[in-house]
């Protein structure tokens, strides 16, 4: 197996093929497929696109995916609940203070919050992404609270 920068590995099993590609920017590769250029110009459309990449660019991945999907195809986005932290993110953006729990565990939670500032920041990004999906009239969105949250998106 020749694993190096930019490698393109192909594996077969029965009638199926699995291709693993090292990319510098997945979005660039996706846009290349959209414009029917580059090494994978003829692979679209896809039945299913699974997005488990850089959480800060999810909107762009979804936008590119919409052009790569067959009619009736599905986009699935992973980690949309961000370990449940999206709840706090939603609370913060609504200005509510739901997080003060009755057991008086606020201090402990604050500690936790400080430790995971980065996680909270990403939870905020994830929450805004979820909002954008739900408000996009082009899309039919179904969020499944399994594991870390999966959102299934279909073009209307």
């Amino acid at each position: 197996m020749d694993i190096k920068e930019g490698c393109d590995l192909s594996f077969r099993r029965g009638e199926s093929e699995c291709k693993l590609v090292h990319v510098t920017d997945a979005l660039a590769t996706m846009e290349q497929i959209v414009s029917h250029s580059g090494p994978y110009k003829d692979v679209a459309p896809f039945d299913l696109i699974f997005i488990d990449a850089d959480k800060t660019r999810l909107l762009e991945y979804v936008e590119a995916s919409l052009s790569l999907l067959r009619t009736g195809g599905l986009i699935i986005v992973d980690n949309v609940l961000w370990k449940g932290l999206v709840l706090e993110a939603a609370g913060a953006s609504n200005g509510s203070e739901e997080n003060k729990d009755i057991d008086g565990n606020i201090g402990l939670e604050k500690e936790e919050f400080k430790r995971s500032r980065r996680a909270r920041k990403l939870a905020g990004i994830m929450h805004r992404f979820n909002e954008a999906m739900a408000n996009d009239e082009r899309l039919e969105v179904m969020m499944l609270p399994i594991r870390d949250g999966l959102t299934m998106i279909r073009k209307r």
Partner: protein
């Protein structure tokens, strides 16, 4: 290019590993040497040839005019160093002036296309979606406590393929901070089922990581009479190292006990996706090369 910033390490390597005794370091480093040779105009001919890599906007400073690098695009000799203009790639590279123009300062067709598309959407005033621009790789502290309901659901579902369990364990072993990122058994089965129900079995995965979800999709399309195709894209070369090995096992043995046994051996072998990665390995080789040609 300079190995100046690593010279302490190289020095130690030469004396401790290669048993050199007469090793010394250049006072003030290459920067001071450059000043002496070029700025103070001494008559000495520079022993340093080519361009010195520097950590500021200049990227490289030409100490002599020798063109010692090879253009990443066309292979012609050049001394120009730059970063790929696709900001999300930003790869450091040696590229000649001609190719820099032709590729708009990017490293590949894909990155060029990306830059062109960015410009297009800007000029048309379309900003379809713009995500926040946090670029760090995310690192998570702790795996969350799975709720009992999840455990219950997993317990009363069919168990996943043996290979998947080993992929999960390999992920925990080789990427301890990212171990929670694998899909897990219940979700994995769900993804597999979805893949098996698709119209043509064509799947794109953005972010392979250790190959857990990919293997689920692949198993799913294998249940279709006509088979299918999974294209999986990954940015981290270390993840490609690990996932590639998992896929090879899937190819050779499918996802059963036999491939699981082989997958377990990865943890017991001296395989390590972190060591021997291009930068570190090539660098050591170049050090050995210096020692051989002096």
């Amino acid at each position: 290019m300079s190995v100046g910033i690593r010279c302490v390490k190289v020095g130690a390597y030469l004396t401790q590993e290669l048993n050199f005794t007469n090793v010394s370091r250049l006072a003030g480093g290459i920067i001071a040497y450059d000043r002496k040779v070029n700025v103070e105009e001494s008559k000495e001919e520079s022993l340093f040839k080519g361009t010195n890599y520097v950590f500021d906007g200049r990227v490289g400073r030409a100490i002599t005019d020798d063109k010692l690098g090879e253009c990443i695009t066309c292979g012609v000799k050049t001394n120009l160093i730059s970063n790929c203009k696709n900001t999300n790639c930003h790869k450091r590279m040696v590229q000649c002036e001609k190719c820099r123009d032709a590729y708009l300062g990017t490293c590949s067709d894909a990155c060029k296309q990306r830059v062109v598309n960015m410009e297009k959407s800007k000029s048309q005033g379309i900003a379809p979606f713009s995500s926040a621009t946090v670029n760090d790789n995310y690192k998570e502290a702790d795996v969350p406590n799975l709720s009992n309901v999840e455990d219950y659901a997993e317990y009363y579902s069919s168990s996943s393929a043996p290979l998947l369990d080993e992929i999960q364990k390999n992920t925990e072993h080789f990427f301890p901070t990212g171990a929670h990122m694998v899909s897990g058994s219940t979700q994995g089965q769900f993804l597999k089922t979805l893949a098996s129900l698709t119209k043509e079995g064509k799947i794109l995965e953005v972010g392979t990581f250790s190959g857990y979800a990919t293997t689920c999709f692949w198993s799913g399309i294998n249940e279709r009479e006509e088979g299918g195709f999974v294209l999986s894209l990954e940015r981290d070369i270390r993840a490609v190292e690990l996932a590639g090995r998992h896929f090879k096992l899937m190819e050779d043995y499918s996802a059963g006990v036999e491939s699981a046994t082989e997958a377990r051996k990865l943890r017991e072998s001296d395989f390590d996706p972190f060591i021997g990665k291009p930068f570190f390995k090539n660098w050591l080789e170049s050090v050995n090369h210096i020692h051989l040609t002096i």
